[in-house]
Amino acid sequence: MNFSIYRFDPDKDERPYMQNYDIMLEPADRMLLDALVRIKTVDDSLSLRRSCREGVCGSDAMNINGRNGLACITPVAGLKEPVTLRPLPGLPVIRDLIVDMTQFFKQYHSIKPYLINNDPPPETERLQSPEERAELDGLYECILCACCSTACPSFWWNPDKFVGPAGLLQAYRFLADSRDQATAERLDYLEDPYRLFRCHSIMNCVDVCPKGLNPTSAIESIKDMMIKRTV
């Protein structure tokens, strides 16, 4: 199977280049990550992140034939050859398929991704009704792989100011949580032409999310909350 993979080692290379690999896959090599591990047996200088190899940790997000996705849950069978692999777009490349996620996580931390509740903690858990818990479905499953934010042109142009789809999905996850008491502060923070309103609803994030989540819908829900408190 033919692969064309983005290579860049800042210590050695002046500029990035694409390297071709022609690899004989074993029958057990069903996912793209298996193929990459197979390539590493031939060329161990190829660098990539991976951990759980089953779509839970979000480490092996990369640009696969022009589309962001997780290598570990992308079957090799359906891929057009040569399979072109590049690092996630829009983030600085550390080496080969590894990108510097600092900016991405900075935006994630900016929305305070934790429950804010000033009541004294009860003896047991802070309980939710099944309906209240259901509000979090489609929000809590995000694994922060950055496929969505790095597919978003608004995040490419303003990664330092626009929170990005992943961060905004998480922002709504806490706005939607019945146990959270910081709704007003969270909305105040997001009411900004850059942090939230750089989103022009082009839905690239929805298109690429490997977990099938819908950041655009979460962003619309944030705007709905803002309308409710303003109008």
């Binding site: 042109p153 608004s154 142009w157 303003n158 330092d160 100011k161 105040d188 923070y189 009411e191 900004d192 032409p193 850059y194 942090r195 939230l196 309103f197 750089r198 022009h200 705007k223 803002m226 309308i227 303003t230 109008v231």
Partner: protein
């Protein structure tokens, strides 16, 4: 000098909402105009003039044009915020857009009420 990131202007919802509302106004006007032109299509200059010399038509057309300019302001400002990162240039371009749109507004009044 350390580059400090400053965000938090605390506005944005009003512009976003205005863009949607002005879009609805424009759609309604275009449908009404299409309806009028389908029912009694004007054949000559006098016919066209008659359609637009009705006072209600003038007001509706003016509302449409104001919606268009307002909508354009939000959209063009969005484009400038996305792509023009030097604050001085962005502000200059935004002022230019505002002045042009104000000019068009006055001009559209002149055109509509001169007919």
């Amino acid at each position: 000098m350390v580059k400090r990131m400053v965000t938090g202007a605390h506005y944005g919802l009003r512009d976003w909402l205005a863009q949607r509302i002005t879009a609805v106004v424009m759609v309604v006007f275009i449908l009404c105009l299409a309806g009028i032109l389908l029912i009694s299509p004007p054949h000559d200059y006098a016919g066209w003039k008659a359609v637009f010399s009705n006072q209600w038509m003038r007001i509706a057309s003016f509302l449409f044009l104001v919606s268009l300019f307002w909508h354009a302001w939000v959209g063009v400002r969005n484009i400038l915020m996305d792509y023009v990162h030097a604050t001085g240039i962005r502000l200059s371009l935004q002022i230019l857009v505002i002045l042009s749109l104000l000019f068009y507004t006055v001009w559209s009044v002149e055109i509509l009420w001169e007919l």
